[in-house]
């Protein structure tokens, strides 16, 4: 599992993460929920050591991040992490070149699923398609944990539906997924755990099904309580 233990982070004097802690289990979809600017993306970058933390600790399966971890964890930021002048097939061969557990068949599968042409240049892709290719770069990796930053935001409804389907597919099964979003409505029944975040702190961390079972509340109801309360 991924443990984030009272992580402090400051940009200059502004405290962005204030002793934030939560855990994400392997095999569960954990969703960080909070309005923009509360530090969701920062947490993800911190987990991937893409930005330093001032104090606190982040462990992946009990160990601090090191180069081998990048074969076990992957991060799909909100912009594509490949060069625009690359063709999709170039991007895939780049991934195959560097990652041992890059799965070309799965990449091929996803390409067909998303109905994308491998010889297309990334620069000429629509925002939706670019998000899909970006998604494939993560999904086609045989990793234990997948971090996705706002996978659905700002893309057309059809691409969104296609991406949502991925969450219900075998690609996600028994992998730890952390996604961030600021509007929960369209994926509420996809996630296992929810972590409500507000200006750098975790307000509430709960299992979505348990809350429905015990309190009969949806995630949105909990949010209304917590944020207004």
């Amino acid at each position: 599992m991924i443990e984030v233990k009272n992580v402090e982070k400051k940009y200059g004097r502004k405290r962005v993460l204030k002793g934030l802690s939560f855990t994400a289990e392997k095999g569960e979809i954990t969703c960080l929920i909070g309005i923009n600017g509360v530090g969701k993306t920062t947490i993800m970058k911190a987990i991937m050591a893409l930005t330093p933390i001032n104090s606190g600790e982040i462990l992946i399966d009990g160990k601090k991040i090191r180069k081998e971890s990048f074969e076990k964890v992957t991060f799909i930021p909100d912009t594509i992490t490949m060069l625009p002048q690359m063709k999709i097939c170039d991007a895939f061969s780049f991934m195959a070149d560097f990652y041992k557990n890059w799965d070309p068949q799965r990449a091929e599968e996803l390409l067909q699923f998303f109905k994308l042409d491998p010889t297309e240049r990334i620069a000429n892709l629509s925002k939706g398609n670019m998000a899909k290719v970006n998604m494939i770069l993560g999904l086609a990796l045989n990793v234990d944990y997948l971090l996705m930053d706002e996978p659905f935001s700002g893309i057309d409804i059809f691409s969104r539906e296609q991406i949502a389907e991925v969450f219900t597919s075998h690609l996600i099964e028994d992998r730890g997924v952390i996604i961030t979003t600021h509007e929960i409505s369209d994926i509420e029944h996809l996630i296992d755990r929810a972590v409500l975040i507000d200006n750098g702190e975790v307000l509430k961390e709960f299992s979505v099904e348990e809350v429905r079972e015990k309190e009969g509340k949806s995630v949105v109801d909990v949010m209304r309580e917590v944020y207004r309360g």
Binding site: G12, K45, M48, A49, L50, T51, P52, K67, E68, S69, F70, E71, T74, F75, P77, T79, I80, T81, M82, L83, P84, F94, D97, F98, Y99, K100, I122, A123
Partner: protein, 275 residues
């Protein structure tokens, strides 16, 4: 090691198209220059000879022979070199900043590769050295061709013999093409250290943002200070040391500077870098 080679190849590929245009520019400019300078010389000589009815030997006695250095000194030859140096100096910075800025965030991908992040640093460092040495090589290959061009235009009795090395006519060329291999290693070694220090300074700026620029400058000056410390030491101890001792101290200092540059870069890339 394998990742290092893959990254190196990847970085070289990224610059290759621009590199080819640079090479094309150098070739075109120097070849045209060779023709223009030689033709110009011949026109002048023909005019002078015809006007004052001189014999060839009188002309030579009066105005001297055409030496290849006249071409090497011309702007046709020198400008492309200066331009390439400027381009490469800019690319020393651009090779890093292009990954942060621009439409994509390729730095994410680089930092998420399952390899020691210092490999990225080494790959980019080697790329710069390869690009520099590539142009150095190009020039060595072009000179004989340019000599052929000039000799095809200027008849033998008008020109001095072009045998000796042509790199000791211009101050700049003496530095780029020293006549002893050991000097070549030293000069390009210092060049390597300069680029390494610049890279680390860039990484400092990339890790600490605004105050990073200040840190980077301080780090740069510190490295420079450490590098020339033996010379300062010798001056303050009014020449206590012999040249060889100073040289050995400089060697040690440069290893320290290079080592610290790499160590800092490694530390920054691992713990402090921000995307």
């Amino acid at each position: 090691m394998k990742n290092y080679l893959k990254l190196l190849n990847f970085e070289v590929n990224r610059f290759f198209k621009l590199y080819l245009t640079l090479i094309g520019l150098i070739i075109v400019s120097q070849f045209i220059g060779a023709i223009v300078v030689s033709k110009g010389y011949m026109n002048v000589t023909d005019q002078v000879i015809n006007k004052n009815q001189l014999s060839v030997s009188q002309y030579i006695k009066e105005y001297g022979l055409f030496s290849f250095e006249q071409f090497v000194g011309s702007e046709w030859f020198v400008l492309p070199i200066l331009f390439s140096i400027a381009m490469l100096m800019i690319y020393v910075f651009f090779i890093w900043y292009r990954d942060w800025f621009g439409k994509n965030t390729f730095i994410y991908r680089l930092l998420m590769l399952p390899t020691e992040r210092i490999t990225i640093y080494f790959a980019k460092l080697t790329t710069i050295m390869l690009l520099v040495l590539g142009l150095v090589t190009l020039q060595i290959l072009l000179i004989p061709i340019e000599i052929k061009i000039v000799t095809s235009i200027i008849p033998t009795d008008f020109r001095s013999d072009f045998s000796s090395s042509h790199f000791d006519s211009l101050e700049m060329l003496v530095w780029l093409y020293p006549n002893a291999f050991i000097e070549f290693i030293l000069i390009y070694g210092v060049g390597l250290i300069l680029v390494a220090v610049l890279f680390t300074a860039i990484l400092i700026e990339r890790s600490y943002g605004l105050k990073g620029i200040f840190f980077a400058i301080v780090y740069g000056m510190l490295s420079f200070g450490v590098f020339i410390a033996p010379i300062l030491l010798n001056v303050f101890s009014n020449d206590y040391f012999y040249a060889l001792e100073i040289f050995l101290m400089l060697l040690v200092m440069s290893i320290i500077v290079l080592g610290s540059a790499i160590w800092i870069a490694n530390h920054l890339l691992k713990y402090k870098i921000r995307v």
